[in-house]
């Protein structure tokens, strides 16, 4: 008797100590470099909303780094509840390891990309080399700064945007497109390993006449170094960069955090979150929010990775794998 009641008391005590622990949820968001500022703000908004709706405190931890490196960490066992990376290709690699279904990109609206960006040109104030469009990047004497597409997700968007422009201009002539990017990369004096590295090379080392950059990075550079130093030039055609997000099933099921993780990602699509994204220079998906920021994000003809390149796996295989087009243009010219 006494023993049983002691056991009951023990169980009750255990329940009591577990209960407050359950009111606290921790999520880990594994992301790429330039989203740091955005998610700091977004996490605060989400925690507030979650607290109001569920009476629970949720803490979202952030991990940032190169998109591919982050994906490898998740594959190797980093406990990411959600991944918010630069390329669908990197999440595909996680899917290949079995942590989430291969159809992950259909689970959320808009290809699982709640915000988008595009590739623009950052030039020195007054645009001394008169760079208006992609053709101007091939002129002799123009130095173009871009990171290495082999190591940087952002650089792959740069490269594909240039390729798409040439296809559009030359009636889908692949040979001409290859020549176009080959000529473009002849004007590239430094291939940094990541997007932030290229931004530093251009803004602080004062190297080059034009930086191919994520639109949000270009705006950040203006904010950081002053609009009196640089101008943003929007080319006539660019690519719709869709940084995707998804839940890592194997992790949330083990940790029991699926509900919170899913709510976290769904919250990205709400007007409140879209507003935060727009403030952090990402193009919002919601038309009513986008309309409010129309002057910040000029209309530009945007091709998509699925429409023009048959998706990331195909694009990666053709252009950036070993022996792909990018390797070929460097073997020929030198």
């Amino acid at each position: 008797m006494g023993r049983l009641s002691a056991l009951a008391a023990g169980v009750a005590l255990a329940m009591l100590t577990i209960a407050p622990a359950k009111a606290q949820t921790t999520l880990l968001n594994v992301s790429y470099d330039p989203t740091r500022e955005f998610y700091v703000e977004f996490n605060k908004a989400f925690a507030k909303k979650w607290q109001a709706e569920n009476g629970q405190t949720v803490t979202v931890k952030q991990s940032h780094g190169g998109s591919g490196k982050q994906a490898r960490s998740v594959i190797d066992g980093l406990d990411a509840d959600v991944v918010t990376l630069a390329l669908a290709y990197d999440i595909d690699a996680i899917a290949d390891s079995g942590a989430l279904p291969k159809t992950w990109q259909t689970r959320l609206p808009n290809n699982s990309s709640p915000y988008t960006s595009t590739i623009v040109f950052l030039v020195r104030k007054g645009n001394p080399k008169q760079i208006k469009d992609w053709d101007d990047l091939l002129k002799p004497g123009v130095q173009v700064i871009t990171p290495n597409p082999k190591t940087s997700g952002g650089a792959r968007w740069n490269y594909l945007a240039a390729w798409a422009y040439s296809l559009e201009k030359n009636g889908n002539d692949e040979a001409k497109a290859k020549q176009f990017v080959a000529d473009l990369f002849k004007n590239v004096p430094v291939l940094d390993s990541g997007a932030r590295g290229s931004t530093v090379t251009f803004t602080q080392r004062q190297l080059g006449d034009v930086l191919l950059a994520w639109e949000n990075e270009a705006f950040l550079s203006l904010q950081e170094f002053g609009a009196d130093k640089f101008d943003i030039v929007v080319p006539s055609l660019s690519i719709l960069a869709e940084p995707p997000v998804t839940v890592v099933d194997s992790v949330v099921d083990r940790k029991g955090t699926r509900k919170a993780a899913e709510a976290y990602l769904n919250f990205l699509y709400t007007p409140e979150a879209q507003e935060i994204a727009a403030k952090n220079f990402y193009r919002p998906r919601l038309p009513e929010v986008a309309a409010r920021y129309a002057d910040r994000f000029p209309n530009v003809k945007l091709v998509t990775i699925d429409g023009s390149f048959g998706g990331w796996r195909t694009a990666q295989e053709k252009h950036f794998a070993d022996g792909g087009v990018f390797d070929q243009i460097y073997q020929k010219g030198r």
Binding site: T151, P189, L191, S193, R205, D322, Y330
Partner: protein, 277 residues
């Protein structure tokens, strides 16, 4: 008494040897074996296909060639630094002595960023070199050599220094007493005694340079076939989720370094035996 083992001359040898082997296995051999195992997944032909591409070979040339050059520069100037630090007393010599270790202590990425800021075409040194000689340093192979020289310096100084310190003055005195000039006694007496240590320092600086990533990557320019280093190629392969290919390049790098270090060690042993006579 015969059941008891004869006490060893070195007590505790069994225990310490066991510890040494276990420790080395865990820290060095196991990770290296894992690397080899990963690469073995490719098979022989796959391995050579992954490794013998013009791009990889060019990167090998860059990594090994520039590491050799940087180690050679360090052998000469590191020797002079060690000489000055041991043989002369001057104000602030302790500070200079401590400065030598900085490349050890500094995170390599910080060194890389600092060097590229200095040697960039708009940097303090880079702008002057550009103006006076039209020489571009940052973002060229020359920039890589400078980064490798920076990180390799302590190896030469710290291996030569203690030997130089312990060199018995009697030998030099004897040489002087026998009528040798300063140069003769240096060349015939001091230098041969220091050569093995100098070679060790050279080999260490070289090995470090071959594997160096952080400090080089910011100053290299990273143009394929021109200023791309081997560790960057490994990163590139990992970025394509090509773990086996990355391991293959790593294994080749390991083999090449091992052969070179072994050769240097043999050379060193030969010189030591020659000097001992």
């Amino acid at each position: 008494m015969s059941v008891l083992r004869k006490p060893s001359v070195l007590p505790g040898f069994g225990l310490t040897l066991g510890f040494t082997l276990t420790y080395l296995s865990l820290i060095v051999l196991l990770p290296l074996a894992a690397l080899a195992l990963k690469a073995a997944g490719l098979g022989w032909s796959g391995f050579w296909d992954a490794v013998l591409t013009p791009r990889v070979l060019a990167a090998f040339k860059v990594s090994f060639g520039l590491s050799l050059a940087a180690a050679a520069v360090n052998a000469v100037f590191g020797f002079i630094v060690a000489w000055v630090l041991v043989r002369y007393r001057f104000p602030g010599d302790r500070i200079v002595d401590a400065l030598v270790d900085l490349p050890f202590a500094l995170p390599t990425a910080v060194a890389g960023i600092a060097l590229s800021a200095l040697y960039a075409p708009n940097g303090w040194i880079g702008s002057l070199l550009m103006e006076w000689f039209g020489l571009r340093v940052a973002f060229t192979p020359l920039g890589i050599a400078i980064a490798l020289t920076f990180i390799g310096l302590p190896f030469v100084v710290r291996t030569v220094q203690p030997i130089l310190q312990d060199l018995p003055p009697e030998e030099e005195e004897a040489a002087a007493a026998l009528g040798a000039t300063r140069w003769q006694s240096f060349r015939r007496v001091v230098f041969p005694a220091l050569l093995p240590a100098l070679l060790t320092g050279f080999a260490l600086a070289f090995a470090r340079g071959v594997g160096e990533y952080g400090s080089v990557i910011f100053i290299a320019g990273n143009i394929p076939g021109l200023s791309e280093i081997i560790p960057l190629l490994i990163v590139i392969k990992l970025e394509q989720y090509d773990y086996a290919g990355a391991a293959a390049v790593g294994v080749l790098m390991l083999m090449a370094s091992f052969v070179l270090l072994l050769a240097l060690n043999l050379l060193q042993a030969w010189m030591r035996s020659r000097h001992a006579r």
